[in-house]
């Protein structure tokens, strides 16, 4: 009888985290941020039919990076979760926090129990129905959840993009400003992303019950132009606050944090 090789649990986790991080880092990044009338999500996505950003419910949006089939499966599950809940209880009982927790549990379980972790990072955003306390829940491949009220970056090169974003972020900026800054942060100094390379959507206060709206390439181009024109002056860089990580590994060697 052959004995299986002993592999230290730390090593197993580390290997899985590395595997997931590699997969995610191959994908293109995405920025979610709040602005004066809601939440904006911009993703680098050359495809106009395979969406990274989608509607979940009246005030809840979803965005994912990494393997398309994996985050799309999560998206559909989220729609199902929200619709069943809203039908069983009431529309206003559907919120992003509980959905984020459900996602986190699932991702965490897959990460620890399955052979292959999911190579995705997802964002669940919620529009505050009355005020400006919008929520951005960032869920990593291992089920780590963090909540943001300013902005969050998912995907490859997240650190560099986060730096560029925090240099420009202003609380309560306009949609045009938020778009221009997000696009510039995603592009970086070396290249310039065109509206057709991007996918954008907002959750905004409006006359409709369903607050999710896609921003098409034409509108995006116009917003970028307007945002760049309005640019600087007031923009004093805000220091990046640290937000509590609510997930498993908080710190420590090789802790699977953000990719």
């Amino acid at each position: 009888m052959t004995m299986p090789y002993y592999v230290a649990p730390e090593q197993v986790m580390k290997d899985r985290a590395e595997y997931a991080q590699k997969g995610i880092a191959r994908g293109r990044a995405l920025v979610g941020t709040t602005y004066d009338n809601g939440v904006l999500i911009v993703a680098e996505n050359p495809s106009s039919t395979l969406h990274k950003i989608s509607e979940i419910y009246d005030r809840v949006a979803f965005a994912g990076v990494g393997r398309y089939n994996e985050f799309d499966q999560l998206r559909v599950a989220g729609v199902r979760h929200a619709d069943t809940k809203g039908y069983a209880y009431s529309r206003e009982d559907v919120d992003a926090r509980s959905l984020a927790n459900v996602y986190a549990q699932y991702l965490g379980q897959v990460f620890t129990h399955e052979m292959k972790p999911l190579e995705v990072e997802i964002l669940v955003a919620e529009l505050d129905p009355v005020g400006t306390a919008h929520q951005l829940f960032h869920i990593a491949y291992d089920g780590t959840v963090s909540d943001e009220q300013r902005f969050t970056v998912l995907g490859g090169e997240a650190d560099a993009i986060t730096q560029r974003m925090s240099a420009r972020f202003r609380q309560g900026w306009t949609l045009a400003e938020a778009v221009a800054a997000s696009v510039a942060s995603l592009s970086g100094p070396a290249r310039k992303l065109r509206p057709t390379d991007l996918e954008a959507a907002v959750l905004e206060h409006g006359p409709w019950r369903r607050c999710f709206r896609r921003v098409d390439a034409d509108e995006l181009a116009e917003l970028i132009a307007r945002g760049e024109a309005a640019e600087p002056a007031a923009g004093s860089p805000v220091e990046k606050e640290t937000h509590p990580e609510l997930g498993t590994d908080e710190n420590g060697e090789g802790a699977p944090g953000h990719a």
């Binding site: 969406h51 599950a77 039908y87």
Partner: protein
Amino acid sequence: MSLPLFPSGSDPGPSFVELLRRTRHEEVQAPAAALADMVATAGRHLSGLVPTSLPPVVHGTTIVALRYDNGVVVAGDRRATEGNMIAHRSIEKVFPADRYSAVAISGAAGAAVEMVRLFQTQLEHYEKVEGSTLSLEGKANQLGQMVSANLQMAMQGLVVIPLFAGYDLRLKKGRIFTYDVTGGRFEETDFHATGSGGRDAKNTVKLSFRERLGRDEAVDLAVNSLYEAADEDTATGGPDPLRGIYPVVATVDSEGYRRLEDPEVAEHFRHILQRRSERDEGGVPS
């Protein structure tokens, strides 16, 4: 609630009804099923005495829909009756099904409102899961399936007859669909009315209908037909200026579903009364 994930063989696809079935959430619909059982038992016990042995059930009444040049108008009165009593003065029987369609109900109010809620969720669910909306025809068929699923209850007396109308984005025109209890789906060419006052409403529309009505003219005709229905049918409520209750009137056209504000509907009624009193100076015929 955990994340609803399914193995590929038993995935419910974009259907919300299927999803409810899979997630065993039909308990949510249990009251309806229990009611059907109860009605069936009661029916057995009392079948020799009373043909419809239902406990008092709230009923809704007149619904009218007609086409105009760029869309459809759907209108419904606000009265619900329980036998010979008025159960509610201000229930609503016209609802947006989604952005480009409306559904109106007559029949057992409780079951009907529940059907509308399920239908609305179903359309939105499909749209979100698939990333595209159903065609108007597809929506109409979906509703037909829900009506036929209600057949057991209908046989016990809880009949729900919806009327479905919407703007067909492909054909660029308004379309009206009606149903029978078995879920049979029929498309009306120009107009239709259902409910206890439906015949009076339909006749009123029939006498004045012509091709290429404007939106305002069509609304006026719909309001007028409800007025005539309320005049003849006790179960149909007329305008109630004292309480400020007016029929729900909505239009669906290329701009989507729009419900008219109450003052606007009140204005139409005022016009109707004015025209009437001018025409019938020697006394309104009765």
